[in-house]
Amino acid sequence: MAYQRVLTQYINEPGSYTLDSYLKHQRGYEGLRKALTLKPGEIIDQVKASGLRGRGGAGFPTGMKWQFVLKDTPKPKYICCNADESEPGTFKDHVLMERNPHLLIEGCAIGCYAIGAKVAYIYIRGEFYHVQQILEAEIEKAYKAGYLGKNIFGSGFDCDVYVHRGAGAYEAGEETALIESLEGKRAQPRIKPPFPAVAGLYQCPTAVNNVETLCNVPLIIMNGPEWFSKLGPEKNGGPKLYCISGHVKKPGVYEAAMDTTLRELIYDERFAGGMMDERPMKAVIPGGSSVPLLLPDQLDIPASFDGVQKAGSLLGSAGLIVFNDSVCAVWLAMNLLHFYRHESCGKCTPCREGTDWLLKLLMRIERGEGQPKDLDLLFGVSNNIVGKTLCAFGDAAATPVLSTMKLFRDEYEAHIRAGACTLPAPWRAKHAMAGAH
C-alpha cells in the first residue's frame, strides 16, 4: 500500500499555512478538542502507547519525557518547542512551520494540557525571520478563533504560545542551552542532572520538544496510538520527515514511514531521484553532520532510529547529506570542523580547544603541510573530546574526523605523502584556503 503523507500532505497547496486550510483539510484543532475531554494522564498514556520518539535527534520517547514533568509541583511548568533547527543538512521543521504552522500550534496546546503547563515558547532560530512572521500571524489567528488563550473550548484550560527569536547560535539547539538562551543568557549547556523535566526554564519543570515531535501529537490524539505505531516498523512508528541535500537530483524534504530504506530515499523517483549527473556516490551522512558516515554498500537498511544505529551510525535529525566521488574526505572533515569550531559555545575546555586544534590540523593536512604524526594527533585530540563535555556537541564535533579517518584513512595518508590535496574538486574555491579563518 502506498504511503499516505500526513504531516505534509497539503503543503504544496496555495495558502496551506492558513487556518482555513488547516480546518478544511486536516480536521484542524479536533485533536485539541478531543484532548481536552481526556485527563492529562490519559494523553500521556496515549503518547506513550504510540511509541512516539523525539524527532530532534536523540529519539527519546516523548511520552516518558512528559511523564517526568507531570509530577505535582507548586511551580509553573513550561513547554519549550525547539525550532532552532541548525544541524547542517536539516531543514524539516522549517517546512512544517512555514507550510503547516497550525499543526505545531495545536501540538503545543495539547502538550501544555498534558503536562499541566500554561505557556509554550517556540524558540526559533534568528535566521528564520520569514518563518517567524508566518508563525506569529497564524498564532494570532488561533487566538482570535479561540484555540489559544483563556478557557479554550469552555474547558477552563488556558494556554499561551509565544515565539522567541534566537540570534544565531547552533548550541541553542541543545535543550539546556536553549533554556539558558530563553532566560536571556548565553546559549551554553547546563550540567545534567537536574534534567529540564525537574529544573528547566526558570528552574521550573520543562519539556523541551522538537517541532516535528509536537506536530505528531495531534495526529496521535485524533487517530489513536495504534494507527501511529503501525505506521512503520516496531518501536519506530509514525511519519518521518527526511531532509535530503547534497549531490542528488531532487534535494528536499520527503515524508515516509521509517521502513523506507536509505537506498530508496536517495535513489527512488519518489524521493531524491538518484545522484546528480549520475556520478557515483562516495558516502552519505544519514542524520545531520554530527553522525558517522555510511558507505554506498550500507544503504539497504530501514531509515529508522534503530535501523541506522545498527549499521553503525545514527538517524539523528534525519538530515541526509549525500556526496559523490569528487569530494575529498579531508576537505569534508575540515568543512565540518570549521562549523564546529565556530559554533562551540566555549564552556567546556575539551570542546573549545579541541575543535580549534582539529581544524588547524585538518587545514594543515589539506594544505599539503601535514606530517605523518598528525594522524595520531587527530585521533588523540578527537578522543580527548568525546565523552568529556557537558553536552553532546563534543561527540558530534569529533565524529566527522573519527568517521572519515576510519573510512578514508588512505586519503589522509595520500595528502601527507603528496604534500597537496589529492582530490581538488572543480567546485571548490580557486584559492585553496580562501575563506578559512
Binding site: 505534509t8 503543503i11 504544496n12 496555495p14 495558502g15 533547527e85 541548525s86 547542517p88 543538512g89 536539516t90 531543514f91 522549517h94 517546512v95 512555514e98 507550510r99 515558547y121 532560530r125 535566521e127 525571520y129 520569514h130 518563518v131 499561551d160 509565544y162 522567541h164 527569536r165 534566537g166 540570534a167 544565531g168 547560535a169 532566560e183 536571556g184 543568557k185 548565553r186 546559549a187 526558570y202 531532509c243 541535500s245 547534497g246 549531490h247 537530483k249 531532487k250 534535494p251 528536499g252 524534504v253 520527503y254 531524491a272 546528480m276 553532520s289 547529506i321 569530494v327 569534508l332 568543512n335 570549521h338 562549523f339 567546485w427 571548490r428 580557486k430 580562501a434 575563506g435 579563518h437
Partner: protein, 218 residues
C-alpha cells in the same frame, strides 16, 4: 641562568586581552514605537524574568541604529533591569548582533557542507571579487558587508545566502556578480526569497519541495 625562554612582557601580544570594547556612540533611546514593542514583548515572560526579552530588545536596538553601541547596550540594560556587562555578555555570544557599523546589505553566505558541495566557496570568491572586499569587511560606500556564516537551514536550495533578513536561494557562483548588480539597481526586489514562503502564497503547482528544475536556478 634561567631555563625559561626569554619572554617579552609588557608589550607582547600574548599578555594583552584581545577584548575590544564596543564604541560608546551617541545617546541612545528607543523610539516610542520600539518602546511600545518592547513593553509588549516583555509581557510574554513572567514579571520577574524580564531578562528573557533581552534578545528581542537587542534586535530592536540594532534595527533602530544598524549596530549596537555601548550606549545602546546601556539603554537595553536599563530596560531589562540588568547590568550593561550582562548585556555585553549576550551581545558578544550571538552572531547576529553587530558591534561595528555594517553595510546597508549584509550578505551572509552559507559555507557549511551542503552549500559548500554545490559551490559556496566559489560564491564567496565571486562576491568578494565583485565587491572588492574580503569576507568580514564592509565596502567603502557602506552599502555591502560580506560575511561567511554557518548552516542557514535551507540545504535543499544550496548555495544559499541571507541578505539582512531575506534569503536568496540557489545562487550559482557565475550569478554572484549579477546579484550584486541587481541589488544596486533593484534593492531588495533582487532576492528570490524563501521558495517555501513564495509557494505558500502562490501555490507550488505540481512541483514538490525538492524539484531541482533546470530552468529555475537563479
Amino acid at each position: 641562568m634561567s631555563f625559561h625562554p626569554r619572554m617579552e612582557y609588557a608589550p607582547a601580544k600574548f599578555h594583552k586581552s584581545e577584548r575590544t570594547l564596543a564604541e560608546q556612540g551617541g545617546d541612545f533611546k528607543y523610539t516610542p514605537e520600539n518602546q511600545a514593542k518592547f513593553d509588549e514583548n516583555v509581557t510574554h515572560y513572567p514579571p520577574e524574568q524580564r531578562k528573557s526579552a533581552i534578545l528581542f530588545a537587542l534586535y530592536l536596538a540594532q534595527g533602530q541604529q544598524g549596530y549596537l553601541t555601548a550606549a545602546a547596550m546601556q539603554h537595553v540594560a536599563q530596560q531589562i533591569g540588568c547590568t550593561a556587562a550582562e548585556v555585553e555578555d549576550v551581545v558578544t555570544y550571538y552572531t547576529m548582533f553587530y558591534r561595528t557599523p555594517v553595510g546597508k546589505y549584509v550578505i551572509n553566505v552559507c559555507r557549511t557542507l551542503s552549500c559548500a558541495l554545490l559551490g559556496a566557496e566559489r560564491v564567496t570568491e565571486e562576491l568578494s571579487a565583485a565587491l572588492g572586499i574580503k569576507p568580514g569587511e564592509t565596502d567603502p560606500t557602506g552599502t555591502f558587508t560580506l560575511v561567511e556564516v554557518e548552516c542557514l537551514g535551507a540545504c535543499d536550495r544550496a548555495p544559499v545566502v541571507m541578505v539582512n533578513d531575506e534569503w536568496h536561494e540557489r545562487l550559482a557562483p557565475e550569478q554572484s556578480a549579477k546579484l550584486i548588480a541587481d541589488i544596486r539597481t533593484k534593492g531588495a526586489a533582487a532576492f528570490t526569497g524563501c521558495h517555501l514562503n513564495k509557494e505558500a502564497q502562490q501555490g507550488a503547482g505540481a512541483r514538490g519541495t525538492g524539484d531541482r528544475g533546470k530552468g529555475d536556478r537563479t
